[in-house]
Symmetry: C2
Subunit: 530 residues, 2 copies
Amino acid sequence: MSESDLPVVRMAHGRWGDPARETHLPAAALDALRHLGARPMPPAAPAPELPAPADALVTALAAIVGAAQVKTDSETRWRHTRGYSTPDLLRDRAGDTTDAPDLVVLPGSHDEVQALLTACTELGVAVVPYAGGTSVVGGLAPDRQGYDAVVAVDLARLDQVIEVDEISRTATLQAGLRGPAAEAELAARGFTLGHFPQSYEGASIGGYAATRSSGQSSAGFGRFDQMVVGLTVATPRGTIQLGRAPHSAAGPDLRQLFLGSEGAFGILTSVVVRIRPRATERVFEGWRFPTFETGLDAVRRLAQDGPLPTVLRLSDEAETAINLADPDVLGSGGPGGCVAICGFEGSRIGTRRAEVAEVLQAAGGEPLGEGPGETWRRGRYNAPYLRDPLLDEGALVETLETAGFWSALPGLKAAVTEALVKALSDQGTPPVVLCHISHVYETGASLYFTVLCAQTEDPIAQWARAKQAACDAIGRTGGTITHHHAVGTDHRPGYEAEIGPLAIEVLQAVKSVLDPARTMNPGILIPPPS
Amino acid sequence: MSESDLPVVRMAHGRWGDPARETHLPAAALDALRHLGARPMPPAAPAPELPAPADALVTALAAIVGAAQVKTDSETRWRHTRGYSTPDLLRDRAGDTTDAPDLVVLPGSHDEVQALLTACTELGVAVVPYAGGTSVVGGLAPDRQGYDAVVAVDLARLDQVIEVDEISRTATLQAGLRGPAAEAELAARGFTLGHFPQSYEGASIGGYAATRSSGQSSAGFGRFDQMVVGLTVATPRGTIQLGRAPHSAAGPDLRQLFLGSEGAFGILTSVVVRIRPRATERVFEGWRFPTFETGLDAVRRLAQDGPLPTVLRLSDEAETAINLADPDVLGSGGPGGCVAICGFEGSRIGTRRAEVAEVLQAAGGEPLGEGPGETWRRGRYNAPYLRDPLLDEGALVETLETAGFWSALPGLKAAVTEALVKALSDQGTPPVVLCHISHVYETGASLYFTVLCAQTEDPIAQWARAKQAACDAIGRTGGTITHHHAVGTDHRPGYEAEIGPLAIEVLQAVKSVLDPARTMNPGILIPPPS
């Protein structure tokens, strides 16, 4: 089965992924959790009843999109409440309704989005753009202080492939289109986008663009921001359209000002992306390195001197031992050392595969064959499914990620690990900290951490302390506060420290032009002017 | 001889390039010019005497950089007057002093730059950042209306390689460092930057960054903006430092807001760039295609499906016939059809070369061997040297460039050519219009035009009409107003039309934050608020 055959998943609120694919923990994992001190949680609170929104607001927005596309019922609004970080799930379980939108509107065109932003600005209500809903950084929880209401603008109806230019190899995709639907439509014409983040089953094109997403095939296909050659954004002040050529020297690349803007300036309604011919061949294989250092050196060689596989990942010793990629054997141990996964997709991949093997072998790697590769590929979207049963069992499990230049990575990894271990041990819940590299560049790479420990009485505060310690360590050791999860509300302090107060003022000035009433996603990405 | 062996050229004012390498036109070219109606121009006006600047200004700036680094003499100021577009050279020849700075200061550190910007803001004088001085778009001719004086801040003393990180393969380069000096220093450590624009002999690292330069090896090394992973910019409001990782999802990529900002927000004092190991092998070869269309199809195949040579260029029929690359045979005709140049640099280039040959042959290409390739390589920085003798002989010669998506390129090329031919024929000077592709991407490519005709009585106005017609054609047919020459003052109308009034307001807002008194390069890139 290839990525274009996967269905779009409509997630249940408060639990990740396809409800039909609920994952159960193996006995070995349960034993390990008991050993960590985890005790089962009480069941989640039932979906709450939410107070009805003001009639005038409903009428005003219905005049733009039609009454049928304005949803005021509690169930729809609860489904559009916050995202999927562990704190989000914990708030959901506690029945916390503070982030619930007052209503959900579903525009059917760019012009309707534009009209909605104008109307919401006039009405003094806040807008939270919503597409896949898979944020893990508080990107769907705007600051509602000072607003009469919060309106979730769900882009689900903007789900079309508008145009495919087979000569230029570009496709114009609407923002509400989900990853699997985009792949299926492109596959029918012989193309692929090649963007497969872990949130692939539910995430959307607009979300990829607004958060600078990076997918598991980034070694071969690049990041999403590298795929975008054009975009259209509706702002409260009007529409901006950018991208008349792949690259230009006409001033700053303003496409890069809207990519990563997280709905704070407006709503990206469509993007023009580079597409490529569908792969005709595919091989995934595993490699073992004696230590993380040797593995790091090997993946760096591939990133700097090539050739690059389509997928390239390296787990550290702890992650290799836990073997998160394969829930069936979770906690049952692994092959030891550090496992790397190399995936090849394309045509005539044999030569590239042989050259990669030569580099890895010279760097001390031992081939494990296609078994571990295929296991990883089949399970590539599964890890987040484990989080809910782990939470059920009283474990706290969460991830965080950063990136840095190659020479900084060992120090960055050590500092973040130490910070997490200390912050959680100090709370009486010593954690397991796993790490992998999943995105490589010539000059550096990402580091992705998974943390697992027992919950305390207040797991939201417990994690907040650990996350703060990790973010401080990232700041101290020169990493970026996020490599592919975006800023949202959770990373705002680290982001402000990273770019500095003058650059924050620049963003505030841009927002003042495009969104003078601060209608768009207040409190997300950009702090209010002081 | 490789690029790292070339010396930095200190150009004479008003004539391109190394004065010792003055180029003479072959007899065949002179005959052709007479046929076009060109008649020799009068000799250039002598270098003018400029009025002395205000003592108070000199004293204030000398307090920051020392008296020896404040130059008030006419010769130095005339050398820092405007750039090297054909209209610039014509103004120089006419002795037009309107763009001359009142003084030239040479700061020795980032902190001195920062202090200069603060002081100039307080004093109400405009600042024009100056490094290589090779602008061809009016990027060194700020609007002096409303300012007591214009100060050229020459970055020549910021010419150091500050750091080389061999693990991360990055180098921190100061803005005033020239291309050949950077290559020589990196070569001594076994590395190359790989950025070789036609202005290479004189242009600077800071200029590359401020204008989003793209070099002749862009197929292999990418554009300069793709090489930059970090930067430091001094603005009148303070310093901003960006780039803690190769890529990040922490908000918009603000590096891309300063790359291409053309000194309108501040002065880039250093950048961190990706470097690569020096090439151990090098081959340049020529290919002939029967038509531009078949050649276009062939280079598109390489850009989209690979492999890419390090250098990839395709001349149209007219450019192939004129053979600009080889001044020795200029005007003596060429091999017919359309010639492409493929250059390979790196290690183990044999396989790549064979694969490229397979693609080109399948696309209808005929190999011409290394002769034309080596001729192009040796002459790669020579074409601009021809402009001065051509101007001497009464010819008008100028270039312009654009880029677009592949499917738009044939229409774009036809429209620009037609506009130039019509605008110049209507003035009684029918031109020769040559075109080549020299920068390719998966989704599109650049188009570079060279125009040659006889001068009228007022060649500046003559070219302005032709350029306007070409820019209108670019706007109508979907190209960008500049692929690698930047906006400056010349492209401002086309730029405003390209990104639209709301995006212009965004740039004005950014400028208001960083440069509230509009000290920096007034009138360049960004129009004043209306």
